[in-house]
Assembly symmetry: C2
Homo-oligomer: 404 residues x 2
């Protein structure tokens, strides 16, 4: 058996029968030199159409039913792509999550993959058949259908690649690869030929929406090389490097940003051990991912505790904070949804001083006020006014000469 | 636990979110006095939309993939109806064929039910939850998705009713019940309050498209009382009686007809034992249901062998006959798709002479030529020119005074 590669096709890549036809051609060509496993998303628009139907019966449909509903989109596209391959004389067979025992937790709509029946997949490819697997879907121990959350098909693909020891996972999208920043905002943004896993993690987390964060984490954990490329145009895409040695070590590799954010500030929290956990524990239990967390130096035993979450989680988090009011003392709660995050990402930053101050200076010269700063070894995240995001990205892209 | 009833809703009954809302109301009301199990079809139009997508990749898509594709329609409607019930404060839970182990043969698109996990369904209803089960879908021993053929949801409902010992299976459709004939063709056609299982079997088989033949056979075999009624209008519908004693024993109870038919005639077949089996065996192996079969008296050891099948099976049957050419001798094959069947159905016929001659006379007086006649104890079927069907039905309906 030749080297195994997993190919994942997103919603726009399979958005019409004509697109599915093109994808079948890509799969067919790859199958000449590799053993191919395919993972597909729903046809773009399909999932939203289903959500709209569900919302007719209330804003918060039962999550089990919601997942049973929206997971049908992937079943449709996997069967159609299989038929498209048959029409080109290629042996292929569609599989749902249930059929390959893609076991997950029972956190509906945000389920996490636990296990997958690699033996079954390997048996199919040993037979010379290309398995066309539904992304996004999972199944609980009890047989209920789950979904992995938006973009979850990436994680499906990487998880399968890890389990079958694939030599690469190719994530096909509608962009040519990973850029130094969003080309819609900075016209001379440059496509990167490769990027380190760490940088990619930071970029994906910051909303460089090309690939799902969890997928990159999976790839990192199981050492799966991932490539991001376009199903619309030819090209080599961007390879996400596993090994740090091979990286280019540019000072700054990209500027990421995320707009749909909301900032929670608890004023006057008692600065005693365990407070952060008392706040973040229940939020995490509610399956909400907290992003930037900042706690200022305390004054008179009181401090301000600030964190950001995705805008869709605003109601959930507000409710959680109501619930913990009796356990965590604070003066008042401020919720601000007029914010956005901008991040400078680069492995090179860790050995180079001055990146932060250079960034702050450039932004201040352009009247962009920074509300919160939060730095890690390879990333500097700034929370700013939502309206200033585009300007900030342009300023930083130019400042760090990312178009060169 | 109160008496169990199974309610089945067809495609038009769940054809829009508004319709699903009405169905939820029907289910809710029934749940006040009964323990309810629901079976749903796909929203009308949905299955055809999926078939159209499939046909983009060829006229004859792989049957396994085709079934995986078209079965998604029922998954969607079962989740949506469950949500609609939740919004009315009713406990409900959707189930796919896989989740209730609705095991079938692996004859894709025409699968036959083998078994269903009644225990699982009973556990759900004991908990006070209404199971909303996907009709039409099945699953093979190996876990592949199958479908039961057009109208298969009726069979799903009756099979479940049989397994859980339901006291009745209500088939909700867009008509008020079973009529003496199609009200679109004979305006004063009368709704029957009850009909015998035998008559229903003959009527359903003849295309009184209200309920699937196989479902009636199942109901007959497992003694499940079935009622056909409308989800659009109030009313008691038509009860299909299990016990012959209770029937009205009308001379003629209805006129059925079927247009999408094709007639095969093998001229000059050797009239030797086993010939009929040699022809019909392979056709049955190809999962085609043969309807009228006529073999004329032989002349010089040769005879003409004629049978009719559904128009959609024309290609399959033509191929089968090509294949058996070497084993069955015949002079030539005639295929005629310009035909239709009209049947007079009535349990009373068996004890009354003259029904046939009365029918033949009425038709001949109205210039309807009868090509083939085939009679059973409670049915007289005539194959006539397709263009004359409406006229024939009107003539017979009047002749037997079915509007009275």
């Amino acid at each position: 058996m030749s080297e195994i590669i997993v190919q994942k096709f997103g919603g726009t890549s399979v958005g019409s029968v004509e697109r599915i036809e093109s994808v079948a051609e890509i799969v067919k060509n790859a199958s000449h030199s590799n053993t191919v496993i395919v993972v597909v998303s729903a046809m773009s628009g399909e999932t939203n159409k289903l959500i709209k139907l569900a919302n007719h019966f209330g804003e918060n449909p039962d999550k089990r039913e919601f997942d049973a509903l929206v997971s049908t989109g992937e079943t449709i596209s996997s069967a159609l792509l299989t038929m498209a391959l048959h029409s080109k004389g290629i042996k292929a067979r569609s599989f749902s999550a249930s059929q390959i025992s893609m076991k997950t937790t029972d956190s509906y709509s945000k389920a996490k993959i636990l296990d997958v029946d690699a033996e079954k997949i390997l048996k199919v490819i040993e037979d010379g058949t290309i398995p066309i697997i539904t992304g996004f879907q999972g199944i609980t121990e009890g047989g209920d259908v789950t979904t992995l959350g938006r973009g979850g098909s990436d994680t499906t693909a990487v998880a399968i690649a890890a389990q079958v020891n694939a030599s690469r996972c190719d994530i096909y999208t509608d962009v040519d690869g990973i850029f130094t920043t969003d080309p819609k905002i900075v016209s001379n943004a440059k496509k990167l030929d490769s990027i380190t896993m760490e940088e990619m993690l930071e970029l994906a987390g910051q909303g460089a929406k090309v690939i799902q964060t969890r997928a990159v984490e999976f790839a990192n954990k199981y050492n799966v090389p991932v490539r991001v490329l376009s199903s619309f145009n030819d090209g080599e895409g961007t390879l996400i490097n596993l090994k740090e040695e091979t990286m280019e070590n540019a000072l700054v590799s990209g500027i990421a940003f995320q707009k749909d954010q909301v900032k929670f500030t608890l004023h006057g929290v008692g600065d005693i051990p365990g407070t952060a956990f008392k706040i973040l524990g229940p939020i995490s239990d509610a399956e909400v991912e907290v992003d930037v967390i900042v706690q200022n130096v305390s004054v008179d035993g009181k401090t301000d505790f600030t964190f950001t979450v995705s805008a869709e989680d605003q109601d959930t988090v507000t409710k959680v904070i109501e619930d913990i009011k009796s356990e965590v003392e604070f003066n008042d709660l401020m919720i601000d949804s007029e914010i956005a995050k901008v991040s400078i990402v680069g492995v090179g930053m860790r050995s180079q001083a001055g990146v932060a101050s250079k960034a702050f200076k450039a932004l201040s010269q352009n009247d962009v006020n920074i509300q919160i700063i939060c730095t890690s070894e390879i990333k500097i995240t700034m929370v700013i006014d939502k309206d200033l995001v585009d300007k900030a990205v342009q300023v930083l892209h130019e400042e760090f000469e990312l178009d060169k």
